[in-house]
Amino acid sequence: MHAEHIKHDFEPKIVAFVCTWCTYAGADLAGTSRMQYPSNVRVLKFPCTGRIDPVFILRAFQKGADGVLVSGCHPGDCHYMAGNFHARRRFAAFRALLNFVGVDLNRLQFSWVSAAEGGKWVDVVTELTERVRTMGPMPEFKELEHEEQWSTFAGTSVDKSTVLNSPELKEAYDSIG
């Protein structure tokens, strides 16, 4: 079965942090069942959602992700009993922090996907991909990567072409990954 590949103007990069016991197995099921879903998602497997540090999410955004998915076992199903419960609190707090500094939370999704829910995995990934696609690229963290301190001193005599965020460097950066 080959689904038709539609070429869009903008292909969002989605990074998915998943736990190995539920969501990874669910994604695997989707794959072995030959379900089709957008290939925009890069999956990173963790022993538990409890291991997914908020700094990983930041790192993903900094390195060019337009959307991030964190997914693990449903409450009560955690392989380590409570890893997902701890993660739930941590991410609730982290969302509030990101929101306070002005990050659009529509780019960040948390889900519970079990090993049996291949279909749900497909839905979650498809929905997030399409949502981010309509939002367009996420410029905020990438801009930070490009910027140098002194280059932000708008209105000063600093010549921006001489500082490190040159078009060449920008291009080199964009060509990575």
Partner: protein, 314 residues
Amino acid sequence: MNAKANKNQVTSIEPAYYQAITEAIRKEAVQILKDETVVGVVGYLPGRRKGTASPALVTTVEEAEKLIFSPACVNNLSVYLTKAKKGVLKQGKVGIVAKGCDMRALAGLMTESQLQREDLFIIGVVCPGVYGFGVERTGTVTEANIARKCRECTVHMPEGADVAAGTHAELADLTPEEAEEMARIEAMPQAERWAFWKEHFSRCIRCMACRQVCPFCYCEQCLCDKNRPQAVESSPRPAGNMAWHLVRAMHLAGRCGGCAECERVCPMDIPLNLLNRRMAQELKELYDFEAGLTPVEKGPLNEYKENDDQSFIK
């Protein structure tokens, strides 16, 4: 509250008030050193310049008689019982002078098993407020020169101390500047909030003073110093700065006692306490937790309830 209803609310707090606290601290410190309850007392001595104060560990009665409490006693001394200074506690029980906001740090450190209550003799200060940063130090504390955090202080009366020095007095009708500023940021459109924080964070020079002064940043290896793999870029550039501030705000969420020391020491004038307060507010709303005055079993991010809110998870 009706200001007239409370006769202890005044428009300026005179030096005599701090003098009374000073006397009480000296008396107590001398006593516990004499009867060998403690091996030393962490408190404040006069600074070298007029009108300043500096933290000190006094171990003799003569020194204890020089201890002071003045509006310049801004430091949160609990940081002297953590990190590199841990050795202090090995000598025996230690006395410490603590304002209400500093007591929160002590309680938090006990929660995290960094301190044992029985190792401490806490001289609580019934604190009317301290000078803000860069204000005129006129002798009396007024609405004009009091620290931002003191405007909305809820812990003038310390709880859980061994003794309390001073009597209650507080300034009347203070505008809660921090709460107003936080509401202002929250009301901004998202892009404006990003621009606001980006501008502030981009000035950060990564001196790490905010970390060093914080009683809760006692990690022997800070995540932000790790370079294999490097989680947070360590040079003062915008991307790493943003990550550093978000990581630290996350690490302090549910732990920070709100002493505002991080903000006070920041040479780049970054409003760090707004981040701390925002996180504290969020954890209060979500889990009804407040970094409090008494040690608890676990902080809000170290525990969970099965029925915690998960409306954000699909």
